[in-house]
Symmetry: C2
């Protein structure tokens, strides 16, 4: 049982049958065709040689098939994680140096270790720290930064930077040195991809293809752009025209790579690796859950941490870059009919074959083509309407979202995400530190009690009923103290205060101290404190404490009982 939990492959492999093999193989072919340009493109985006992207698309897919719980997630390099990798490495080494590549490999290893440990400790809930508005804002801003960073490849110029300001300034100053043949290739690829995104599917359908096949074929359009421009580069010897190509890629399968054990490097990359882990995990889990739900399957987030962790670990140890579950590839994998994670393992075989036999061709692939595929891919990540929606729905959520976007654009991806997380936790604590509470009075002639500010209710000058609409814990315990003291200073006639507690699901140790304090202060002021409608589990806990002995008043089962006992009035009065 426990073995099946940690080795999800045991849940499906024993019943794996021929029908599934066929479905998985078909999906694998399609995913391979998508993954080849993506793995090359995201290696370029991360500032890494092409083979690092290919290696990251072989072993991790096999390992994920063993340890992952999603049946259809397609693991490999993705855009946002590649951008974060580049940003993390920028202060450490020059792009293209051996130190830079070693850094990327180390991030994959560290991220793999972190995710695996988080999974073993069942820390999947940590991903909840990334609220939806922060993730959404972060991905939109990252998409913009990624698209901007690729313009240099499209124009064949040299520029740099990891935020919009730097990239923009650097790109604009380098613009005079634009390489026209590169621009032709790049814009051509871009226009083809944009065209295929909009018109290829209707065209294929008119040519007689089924809806689903047309859809899947459309999503593999980048491989056509890759094939055409590679052929063009080879025929026209475009490298002699100044068009930058991918260049020589070592042929052959990845081998074991020893990661750096330099402690200073580990500590320099720790925060980046953690952020990459969490962002990658959140993205991957949300894709995985969405796809699993369509077939009424489930994924286990804590085991997913182990699945992604071991995938990253295997990526780093085989010379690859950080990986996670990619949205577009997983959807294609799902739509193409993948039924088990074996489809991923078959795609790994496809990439391995490409690494063995296609590298001479890949060498002729223009970088501008890859930049075009990146720009078209990330364009779908940018979601401006989400800003308006969030603004209209909640100003605090919008604040966290805006801070994330602005900092990601003008400073760095890491600053953006850290600011977003801290701000949303801070705003959340702030919001819960001021819980709703209301003085209630009796609806005349009934046993019901309602807010005096909203309803026409009966009051008693010497007894106040205060309803608390939130659990009591350290963030709001002192607020309750202030609320109560405010009440008794305003009403010098008061002799009894009843806390009405039906919405109090929890009273933590801080709140218990506050209740003791409130009780003591009320006694000093000559007011008795009572409780009513305390929930069962809360009462069970309170029974073990001194508080109930010190309590100046009583604990009433119902508020009406308290009313009757303290005011001497009955239902008919």
């Amino acid at each position: 049982m426990n073995l099946k939990r940690y080795l999800p492959i045991l849940q499906w492999a024993p019943q794996y049958h021929r029908g599934q093999v066929t479905s998985d193989l078909i999906a694998a072919v399609i995913v391979t065709v998508m993954l080849i340009p993506q793995s090359l493109a995201y290696a370029l985006l991360a500032g890494l040689p092409a083979q690092v992207g290919l290696y990251a698309s072989i072993l991790p897919l096999v390992v994920y098939a063993v340890f992952g719980t999603s049946r259809t997630l397609s693991v490999g390099p993705v855009a946002v994680v590649s951008l974060m990798t580049a940003a993390a490495l920028a202060p450490l080494a020059e792009v293209g140096t051996a130190e830079y590549i070693a850094g990327a490999i180390l991030i994959a290893v560290m991220s793999g270790l972190m995710l695996t440990v988080m999974g073993l400790l069942k820390l999947g809930f940590m991903a909840n720290f990334l609220s939806h508005p922060v993730i959404s804002g972060f991905i939109t801003a990252s998409g913009i930064v990624i698209a901007a960073s690729q313009l240099k490849h499209l124009f064949g110029v040299q520029s740099s930077g990891h935020n919009l300001l730097d990239i923009g300034a650097s790109f604009l100053t380098s613009l005079p040195s634009t390489n026209v043949p590169t621009l032709f290739v790049g814009l051509g690829a871009l226009l083809f991809l944009l065209w295929s995104r909009r018109f290829l599917k209707p065209l294929l359908k008119r040519l007689g293809l089924a809806e689903r096949s047309a859809d899947i074929f459309t999503k593999t359009a980048p491989i056509l752009a890759v094939l055409l421009t590679t052929l063009l580069a080879w025929l026209l010897r475009l490298d002699e025209q100044g068009v930058r190509l991918v260049g020589a890629v070592p042929s052959g399968l990845p081998v074991f790579t020893m990661p750096s054990l330099e402690p200073s490097l580990w500590s320099q990359l720790a925060v980046s690796a953690l952020l990459i882990s969490v962002v990658g995990f959140v993205e991957s889990v949300s894709v995985g859950q969405t796809l699993a739900a369509k077939r009424r399957q489930r994924i286990d987030p804590d085991q997913e941490l182990i699945g992604l962790g071991t995938a990253n670990l295997s990526s780093g140890l085989s010379g690859g870059m950080p990986v996670t579950g990619g949205f577009s590839r997983s959807v294609v994998n799902f739509d193409a009919g993948a039924e088990t994670p074996a489809a991923g393992a078959y795609a790994a075989v496809g990439i391995a074959l490409a690494t063995l036999f296609l590298t001479p061709a890949i060498a002729w692939l223009p970088q501008a083509t890859l930049a075009a595929t990146i720009i078209v891919a990330v364009a779908t990540l940018i979601d401006f309407p989400a800003l308006g929606r969030t603004f209209r729905y909640s100003r605090t959520d919008f604040g966290a979202m805006l801070a994330t976007i602005v900092l990601t654009l003008i400073h760095s991806v890491e600053a953006g995400i850290i600011a977003g997380v801290l701000l949303s936790i801070g705003l959340f604590l702030y919001r819960t530190s001021r819980p709703h509470s209301a003085v209630v009075g009796r609806v005349p002639g009934t046993e019901h009690f309602r807010n005096v500010l909203r309803h026409d209710v009966e009051l008693c000058p010497k007894v106040t009923f205060l309803r608390v609409d939130e659990s009591l814990y350290f963030a709001n315990a002192r607020f309750l103290e202030e609320r109560v003291m405010d009440l008794i200073t305003r009403e010098p006639e008061l002799t009894d205060l009843v806390l009405v507690c039906p919405a109090v699901n929890l009273v933590d140790a801080s709140a218990l101290e506050s209740l003791e304090t409130i009780n003591d202060r009320l006694q000093d002021a000559g007011v008795r404190l009572h409780l009513s409608e305390v929930k069962g589990p809360v009462m069970d806990r309170l029974k073990g404490t001194e508080f109930l002995h010190h309590l100046g008043g009583e604990v009433y089962l119902s508020t009406f009982e308290a009313w009757r006992s303290l005011t001497g009035k009955t239902l008919l009065e």
Copy 2:
């Protein structure tokens, strides 16, 4: 009105009358007598010259009388803040050097600025980050560290360290060089103070003093120890016996001191100053609130930040150390009958007179006497039973408390408090990320719905009612997604799911996205999502969103209505 808020002196000064002047003057004399040994002792504890403690007890008291809202708080140096000051300065400079003193002054200035800004921005709620168990554990551990750190003065040896391990090791190795006359003075003072704490009050009462007077007189016992040992030191020339005395103290009032403007020093001390600010504020506010409540007065926490902030700023700018409201002094001030903050200002005059005229006598005061007063004072801070109480009440709260205590003892005060705060926020987020939810069924023959696990209720195989017992926000939004997906994978027959929401006070943007996601996934799985008993304010917000248009099912006012409509059953069935 607004002026009165920011200048609380305007709330009482216009009505200040002769009766109050008399009460305040009497209290001020008693507080002065307590404050002289305390200000000298806490300067010693912080590793600062005696006059720094005295200066911190003059101007800050006057400034607090203008800006503070507590009528009876006694501002000045306190034990825990002095320990934190010493710990913050230890890595920067040697005790006794000009840099060390400048550092302490800068901490007072920075802490003053931070508190004032927090007050102007109404950030008083930030103090809630320090939960009761963390504060309680921190103060117990600090008390132990402080007491241990004073042993060297009691034994007349040289030792160092800022945590229990270092202090203990250093003290034990230095023990052979114990100075016997010092030990006599120190132990004598210690025994006298312990005796007076236990037996002086009953004795005075037997001698005919009233309860209250006996109580107040007992609390001024340290001044007796100071007077006696000072006289002894002078008569016997104890300095020639190797007894360390306070030594020459510059006579005269404090003058304006320019704080260091060195940016690197500011950034090195920033975290320490923030922690000192928050700890001092929390302690001060809780003392102030307790005392105010006894007279049905109120204090305004945001204005208290300004009061303490300006007090610290004035302390630093007049060459003093960080200050806050002290517990024992404030209680004495209150019991002695202080009616307005003017009592504090009068005490400041008392300290100023001492600084002008008593410094030749103070020079003869043995440090061992001050150490004894510190040990006796902090002994009351140590609260071991709180550990047991917290452990029995809540394991999570105990975890945060224990981490604070252990780290404070074995590492440092700053590590202790930071670990405590982070752990309690983390545990809180963890706890709220798993909200209680229950599948409910109908109590037969009624309109009530109860948890199926606790009650014998009626169910319907195709319709599930899920009650959510918590507000929905980013910390638990994904948990709800998992809970729902778990439900529908377990019950393949399901056609309708009703979320019962009477306890949902808030749905933030993340939770709204999650509800959208749940709705989409349920639709993919052929299940309709309904809501029931949505609260008014939550419904108002949802009405402005797309969610209600996408919702597969209905929003029902009551759960029974949903039951009747979805199952076709009526009340009588």
